[in-house]
Subunit: 157 residues, 2 copies
């Protein structure tokens, strides 16, 4: 589940902008540089902070405008992890078939791939009249395995 490398990401984004008659600007550059220097799942506000460390001239509005462009171009995916804000995942361009398990106590997110579950997913979807395209699977659980080791910062501890 490694992210796409920064040069390739820039390349792809440039082609996307060109094709939509949009311009590469210093702010957009700062944002995609920041996005593709992490493989963590991040929020818009986090991205704003990080991008500003790199380039002061990045506004909240531009971040909120650029993330949908990155999404549309396929470089990141919008993720819903059950919080009331969106997450973005920079790891999809490179591994489009991974899924996530989320701890509902802390916010630990772990990626995984499983042929078996992917197959079952497809079978279930189909049997219920859903198509396969763009499917995604999320498991919500508790990491008290990790809690016992002191790794899970459970809020209600």
């Amino acid at each position: 589940m490694a992210r796409i490398n920064r040069a390739a990401a820039k390349e792809k984004f440039l082609r996307f902008l060109e094709q939509k008659n949009l311009r590469m600007t210093s702010q957009r550059m700062a944002i995609i540089d920041t996005v593709f220097s992490t493989d963590q799942h991040f929020t818009a506000e986090q991205m704003l902070d990080w991008a500003r460390e790199r380039d002061q001239a990045v506004s909240r509005a531009t971040v909120y405008r650029t993330l949908p462009l990155l999404t549309e171009s396929g470089l990141v995916h919008e993720m819903d992890f059950g919080k009331d804000y969106k997450y973005y995942d920079p790891n999809y361009a490179d591994s489009p078939n991974h899924n996530h398990i989320i701890c509902q106590d802390c916010e630990r997110i772990v990626e995984f791939e499983s042929d078996k579950i992917e197959k079952l997913q497809g079978e279930i979807s189909q049997s219920l009249g859903f198509s396969l395209k763009a499917q995604q699977l999320r498991i919500t659980a508790s990491c008290d395995e990790l809690k016992r080791l002191g790794a899970c910062k459970n809020k209600a501890s």
Copy 2:
């Protein structure tokens, strides 16, 4: 995936209230009557509308206060279906092991149970250091099977 019957639900809620030194009021009664007359997944705003049809004297505030009580008592479950508002599920008391598949185009939600996927879920969770309790699984897909039949009201059609 049938919901618990209304009388049993009221009974359970009464015991819950008693045990927490809370009172059964006409508003709370109207709300749980409404909740357990549907087996649909609903939002707080929907519940407000429906409960008001039954009893004018139900305010938004009371709905937003009662739903967490019903959740805490185990009669409903808070659900996140990827929208920016919560859903509530009245079907958990009776079938606590069901999962959901959601169409990302329309908002169709279909419940399903699968021993196979449940087993895999447990295996994956465990192998990644997550515990089994309170796990839940959500599949996001597109129902273009149904779309072809004109059943899916896809927004971007």
